[in-house]
């Protein structure tokens, strides 16, 4: 049987999912895994719901995660943590940014943002790790580091040393925001540890 592991990134177009999934992929590559990542460009990127699918293991064939097979979901927005429920299984871990981005029907008053939406996950024996990435990023000194804070939270659940991630972040973010990104990553790691409930 294959030893492949699957990470589903979900969120809203423009949230920096691409960079976060790239950093994660390069970290896994650095420790010797085969890694494939699939994403969708074009119309889907215009403020809509977006995903990136990352698979790693000794040898990865398919670039796509099968339904029911995402081991970890990294959700950049609360409702988007629940939208891809059919990809999850009992015991999946969902790391979720507690930010809410209103979809058009909610913003125009035609629908309500669902309350306690993460209970949909908890009630199905899915582990939820809630991270306030926006606050972490602000405290790190640059609100645009929220995606790197989320990478920090994800990193504690992956078989990769912290230093490997730090080296990759250092090489892939603009120099003038390096300190802020490192601070966001470290704070994200603390926030990503398993939470007692």
């Amino acid at each position: 049987m294959s030893d492949n592991k699957n990470i589903l990134f979900s969120g809203v177009g423009g949230q920096g999912i691409l960079l976060a999934s790239e950093i994660t992929a390069y970290a896994l590559l650095a420790v010797g895994f085969d890694v494939k990542k699939s994403e969708v460009h074009g119309m889907a990127q215009r403020g809509g719901s977006v995903t990136a699918q990352l698979r790693y293991g000794t040898k990865v064939y398919s670039p796509l995660i099968d339904p029911g097979c995402a081991d970890i979901q990294m959700a950049f927005e609360m409702m988007e943590a629940v939208r891809y429920l059919p990809y999850l299984h009992q015991g999946s871990t969902v790391i979720v940014n507690t930010q809410q981005i209103l979809p058009p029907s909610v913003a125009t008053g035609q629908a309500l943002y669902p309350e306690n939406v993460l209970d949909e996950l908890r009630s199905r024996a899915i582990e939820v790790i809630a991270v306030d990435a926006f606050t972490i990023a602000r405290q790190a000194g640059e609100v645009r580091t929220a995606n790197v804070a989320l990478v920090g939270a994800l990193s504690v659940h992956l078989p990769v040393d912290e230093q490997v991630f730090q080296d990759i972040i250092e090489s892939r973010v603009p120099e003038r925001f390096r300190a802020e990104n490192m601070a966001a990553f470290t704070a994200g790691r603390h926030a990503g540890r398993r939470q007692e409930r």
Partner: protein
């Protein structure tokens, strides 16, 4: 190296010594040309459309240079005319046409299987499974093209173009075998009937030779295994088969046209049950069945949409996967939307208030269809908006001039809208055309076009004068508006729609995603919620930066608003891109530009 399929193809093109590459942006093919433009020694360009791109590549090949044309699947429809005759001429330098298909229509108006073009045009087609093969197959395609004097099609799909995987590095450029220069070969370059008839015979003979090559081609390989089930597959489907049935014997076809009949027969005879696994059409299956071979194919595997490992496994082994999946939870949908500050929004807001049929086109503005604007009534293909409006007006007859408006983006207009406008003027149309000129090909990620004033490398280039062009075509009424000034635009649109003569409105404002706009010092609009009367004028723009907060029972009065007020609007200053459309609509001084007080 860890590259996307598109990055790997760009690398392969550079390595293969490609001299000229031309394309038109189209998801999922766009990034090939973008990446290739970063390599030294390769001339790259964005062409106005795919037909032009392929003709440029044919010319480069005739001159002895290796040439590449890139396009998405529907782009090959546009380029089909030169394709079918280039199949006769062949070239001198290798000629490769890259088609990127989009199963599942992630960003396309249809789902077509371009393997059918290889069969119809009588051309070899290679089909890689992942980024590493994409690079290798592209290089191989150039060798094959020169060896057999034929254009070669390379077909990828979204899950190859936009998948990243490990690719051996670092890559080395080889110089192509021919030195470019002028040579005349009328017997193969001038396709008059007499010559074309001779080349027609050559095409058959060439495909025979290609079939022989395919029989011994190492990219058409048998991977031995359990012979109770045997799979014939190609492209990304191969990966799903390997993952679903790692133990089974597989015939992987790297060249999906022409087919190695002997190899297929031998493989089929060696397995108990034969399965053909392919995305979209039963292309291989039909050919294999025509050989008289019994196999499973589309009786089990869906012909619509993308495949994945689970679909393949469940189709062939329905008993094996028993785990129940979680049902989806009903959530408010999150469709794609025009960006905050998008200039198209103001035009569609105005059109939504006119009782007209809006004949639309392909681009970001197709999203004008979505609520709350609901202001786009048809989309078929690139450039169709203008002739379709003309056809509607002619079908309706007298008095139809104010019932139909067509909208088209600058890039789509240059792609294939101009001939439609010539037709409308020549044949006396009276439907107003609105050119949504945001200076860029936006949907595919801000590629410059002939109206943008820059080249693919960002260097200054001649910018097409759209007003002068429309006047030269014979449009007597050409007006330029700023789409962000919503009420002023509405006045002009109404005047032109009511006019019983062809008119063009150029709505000009740059895409907010242009790098130079994104780098501006951020200034935005903010709401003075004390002044908001809850009229929802701004809400109805559907801007992602504006949201509605409803009042609870009695809250309006408690906060000093009129009792009947239902809520208020608020602008998210982080999302706001400073277009001011909402402010131009607000009659209550509730929206102001600048820093919050």
């Amino acid at each position: 190296m860890w590259l996307s399929g598109n990055e790997a193809i760009a690398l392969g093109a550079w390595e293969a010594g490609v001299r000229v590459a031309s394309g038109y942006p189209g998801t999922p093919s766009t990034e090939i040309m973008e990446h290739l433009s970063g390599y030294d020694g390769v001339y790259t360009e964005w062409a106005p459309n795919e037909k032009v791109a392929l003709e440029v590549a044919i010319g480069a090949s005739f001159a002895g240079g290796r040439a590449l044309a890139t396009m998405k699947h529907v782009g090959l429809n546009v380029a089909a005319d030169p394709l079918f005759t280039a199949a006769y001429t062949g070239g001198r330098g290798g000629l490769v046409i890259l088609t990127a298909d989009d199963p599942d229509m992630h960003s396309s108006q249809n789902e077509q299987d371009n393997r059918n073009y290889a069969l119809a045009a009588k051309l070899p087609m290679l089909e890689p499974s992942d980024p590493a093969e994409s690079r290798d197959f592209l290089k191989r395609a150039f060798v094959l093209s020169e060896q057999l004097d034929t254009p070669v099609l390379l077909r990828i799909t979204t899950r190859i173009a936009h998948v990243k995987g490990v690719v051996a590095g670092p890559g080395e450029r080889i110089e192509a075998p021919l030195a470019p220069g002028v040579e005349k070969h009328p017997e193969k370059f001038v396709m008059l009937p007499a010559m074309a008839r001779r080349r027609r015979l050559f095409v058959e003979e060439r495909m025979m030779r290609c079939r022989e090559l395919a029989e011994n081609d190492s990219d058409n390989r048998i991977e031995d295994g359990d012979r109770r089930r045997g799979f014939i597959t190609s492209g990304v489907s191969y990966l799903y088969v390997k993952e679903a049935f790692p133990e089974a014997a597989v015939l992987k076809l790297g060249m999906c046209w022409p087919l190695p009949e002997q190899k297929i027969r031998e493989f089929a005879a060696s397995v108990e049950t034969l399965y053909v696994v392919e995305e979209l059409d039963p292309f291989l299956e039909t050919q294999i069945k025509a050989m008289g071979i019994i196999c499973h194919g589309k009786d089990l595997i869906p012909a619509i949409g993308e495949l994945n490992t689970a679909i393949v496994r469940r189709a062939i082994d329905p008993g094996r996967d028993t785990a129940e999946l979680f049902e989806p939870v009903v959530l408010p949908p999150r469709p794609p939307n025009m960006c905050p500050g998008c200039p198209h929004r103001g035009i569609f807001f105005n059109l939504s208030r006119l009782k007209v049929f809006v004949s639309g086109d392909i681009g970001c503005y197709t999203l004008g269809f979505l609520p709350p604007l609901n202001a786009l009534d048809s989309t078929v293909c690139m450039g169709a908006s203008i002739p379709m409006a003309h056809g509607m007006v002619k079908a309706i007859g007298d008095g139809a001039h104010d019932k139909v408006v067509s909208v088209i983006g600058d890039s789509t207009f240059v792609h294939s809208g101009i001939t439609g406008l010539i037709n409308s003027v020549y044949n006396g149309s009276a439907a107003t055309l609105i050119i949504l000129d945001n200076r860029i090909t936006a949907m595919t990620g801000q590629q410059p076009n002939p109206a943008s004033g820059t080249s693919i490398k960002g260097e200054p280039a001649q910018s097409l004068d759209l007003e002068a062009l429309c006047r030269a075509i014979g449009v007597k009424h050409v007006r330029v508006v700023n789409p962000h000034e919503v009420p002023e635009c509405r006045k002009i649109i109404k005047e032109e729609v009511e006019r019983d003569e062809m008119s063009v409105i150029i709505a000009r404002a740059p895409c907010v995603l242009l790098p130079e706009l994104k780098l501006r010092k951020p200034v935005g609009y903010y709401t003075n919620i004390d002044n908001c009367v809850g009229c929802t004028s701004c809400i109805r723009l559907g801007c992602p930066a504006i949201s509605w907060t409803p009042f609870a029972e009695g809250e309006a009065e408690a906060r000093g608003y009129k009792k009947s007020q239902k809520g208020y609007s608020q602008i998210d200053e982080v999302l706001c891109n400073d277009c001011g459309q909402c402010a131009s609509l607000c009659k209550f001084n509730a929206i102001t530009r600048g820093e919050p007080k």
